[in-house]
């Protein structure tokens, strides 16, 4: 499935990146913790395997800042689960963070390329 050569170890999340990725996953619509981790694994072509030990604290931090909100709902296959959704503040934060990341990636790329 993957076109990229597999690294012996999976990518670690840089500080603060998981939060942005969670926001991104919720931009598509409300989701529960399992759904978020599935989404991130699939969208990253299995590069990111989300550790639940990081996912839950990250969700709590986002709740604290008021960027996401949570609600208990019944999932399509009949299980009760806690669904997270973006708040307007979260949507704004996603925009800010996305543009910051893109600048960061570009800059990193330029510097690394000039060295190579």
């Amino acid at each position: 499935m993957s076109t990229v050569e597999r690294l012996s170890e999976r990518l670690e999340f840089l500080q603060g990146t998981l939060e942005v990725l969670i926001l991104r996953s919720l931009a598509l619509g409300p989701n529960h913790a399992y759904g978020i981790s599935q989404f991130l694994t699939q969208e990253s072509d299995q590069e990111f395997i989300v550790d639940n030990g990081s996912l839950y604290p990250a969700l709590q931090r986002l709740l604290q800042r008021g960027w996401i909100a949570a609600q208990w709902k019944t999932s399509p296959n009949g299980r009760r689960a806690k669904y997270y959704r973006l708040t307007p503040a979260g949507r704004k934060q996603l925009l800010v963070a996305t543009s910051k990341w893109q600048r960061f990636v570009l800059a990193m790329g330029r510097v690394l390329a000039s060295e190579g």
Partner: protein, 888 residues
Amino acid sequence: MRAWWAKLTALFSRHRLDDELSAEVEAHLQMVVDANLDRGMTPDEAWQAARRGFGNRTLIRESAREVWIFHGIETLLQDVRYARRSLAKSPGFAAVTLLSLTLGIGANTTIFSLMNALMIRPLPGVDQPDGLVRLTNGSFSYPMFEALQSRRLFTHTVAFMQRRIPAEVNGTTQWTHTELASGDYYSALGVHAMIGRTLSSNDERTRAPVAVLSHAFWTRALSADPGVLGRIIHINQQDLRVVGVTPPEFAGIVVGFPTDITVPVTLASSLLTEVGSDILTNRDDYWIELMGRLPPGRSLTQIDAQLQVAWPQVLAVSAADRNRSTLLAEGTRLLPAGNGFSRLRRTYASPLYVLMGLVGLVLLIGCANVANLLLARGAARQREFAIRLAIGAGRGRVIRQLLTESLVMATLGAAGGALLASAGARLVVGLISVDQAPVLLDLRADWRVLLFSIGVTTVTALLFGLAPARRAVRVDVASSLKAHTRVVSGLGIRLRGGLMIAQVALSMLLAVGAGLFINSLRQILAVDAGFDPTSVLLVRASVTEAGYRGRRTIQFYTELLDRLNSRPTIQAAALSLYPPVSRGAYSSDNISIDGVEPRTDQGHLALRNFVSSRYFETIGQKVVRGRTFTELDRHGAPNVAVINETLAHAFFGSDSPVGRKFDPRGGRQFDWEIVGVVQDATYTSLKDQPKPVVYVPCAQGADVFAFLQGRDMFLEVRSAAVGSFLAGEVRETIAQLDARVLVETEALQTYVAGSLAQDRLLALLSGCLGAISLLLVAIGLYGVMAYSVSQRTSEIGIRMALGARPAAVLSMVFREGFLLVLAGVIIGAALALASSRVVASLLFGITPRDMGAFAGAAGVLALAALFATLLPARRAARVDPLVALRNE
């Protein structure tokens, strides 16, 4: 506000957050299992794979929860940093605030740590002090103790008494607090010896001449000699073998007077000079206190009920028949004794409660002051708050920030207050140390003091911080940001005016209290004592403890008087059993006079003092009729007595009693002759009404009253010489007679003043607190008036432009301040009248409605208000209409 609330509830409802997280995690796990099943795994495989991949669920829950806790601490630190910065930006505000809070909290902590040390703190070094109880109403006889002990109501029944007596250790004699205790004493307290052993029941039974030393005494008198066991110390010429030393934390059970030496109670007759040899069987001698340890699992109430049943039986076998009905009627009761015994408590409990109330008022005034300043500051910071609210800060968040600022200030105030309190409490202990033995109270802060100051600090911060904080966020964001000038809110001004009135009212209450106590002290000092204490030295010499008994005691004193009276520097020296103001101690008995019956309600009862010749001359008590004693009124000569005016009046009206015969023992043997009448003098306390008194020459009294032969007498020496020189001379004279006699000297004036310690304490402290509150009120009033003037600059400018003269503006500002103060004074006076009952019992010679105190308080407040208003009023009068209007 919601986010803040969520965090707060998260902190307090750990369990709810935990439940929710675990439900979420379980649901999550279930979904992974479902997915595995879809991929065709068996249910077992599906579960195992899911669990393996999921990670440690407990750890996940915990790390998710920690996010909330750390967040709370982090924002708190952020708030504290911000508070520090914003305080540093306005040093004037910070200084006044800190001063108000330091004084307020410091005064409260001072009084509380005194109350703690004297009344609350459980005895240190004692095992389970709350199991200790004592029997009420003074002292008991040794037979009563034995009868009670045999009833076995307590696990341990203890008899003890503490006495200040000289002990000879290492060749030097020094004053000690010696406790005579029954054998169960240390078992009841659960105190074990650090070296050797403590007292045992065997010691009590066999009257073993042994002594247990306290750690402090062992260190002080024996330089912590490790070979102390077996050493001999002497009390009253008796050898006592040291058998143990108690641990350092234990200081006896008498609060304020740590015990140095403990000996078996059964040694009383050989160690105490004033008791008879039958003290252990005498049913009329009440000299010990009783204490017990409650049996495990039994409450004070349960044992008290048993005591009520047992007490008549105890008295049936232990009380003399003629006293039994009185003792039965008096009864006894159990009280908790875990906080020890204290004679200071009786004298100082009610003054301390009153002072606690007064310092509470000072703190309230301080709070009002700070709240007022905060309101003014809040008005100045309105734009800041508006901006913070506009960029999305919740109102709750701003309130929290402001309350954190308050808490930071209160905490700084508390730190200053703690320093103030440690100095203040020591000062107060100095004020109440009036006996020869200094009061040693353990004033170290313990968890109670700590808890108290944390509590006071928090309440203080909320008191002064909450109202201004709530007002601060009630801004209309749009208009405050638009307006160029500050928006003056009428509500703020009204609130500040209200606070000011409350402050003045509280201060009035305090000032009236201070005025009452000061006036009361002045009344006492104005009392004509009936003698002249200036240039008189009071001397106590431990003659009986040095081994003098019977007639030898009298001989020793006579020889001493002869030598002193022959010294050129000494005008007169005399002896008396009781000093002129005896602080309660006085013996009294019925007297009967040949052919006369008393004409007053006092009946036959009269106080008795035994004095030498020249006594009245020495202390300056005037003779009204007849003569006083001479050297000729000695052993063997016809018995004579002098009476005071009150007694003369009670029996003889305006007739002369000189030459009449009477019986000083109340019987019918009229073999004493009244030879003179002296002026009334104060006897037990300056506050007492004059009482009938009989003076008997001690040389003759010793024949009739055997107890006089075993008692130390007070020596009074009148001389123009300086106190310390005179004291040296007296010491030298006594040392020439017998070097073993310990001597204590004190100016009679100081001694008399010592009996007023309670009144002085109240007058001085309430005066200080009154002054502090005046200072705070003046600062507060200045702040309010200055703010009001600055807010009204343009209005004043317009008035002046329209022709108002500076004098008119001046009086306008004064009127404003005056009205605030007037309202406060009236409310404060009403409060003072309403609470006058509380202090009535502590006053002498005036009622709690004393006009002088009220008028003085109002006057002083008015004066303070005048000064506080002066500067703002002058600034208002100097407003330049042009400048003021240009700003508009």
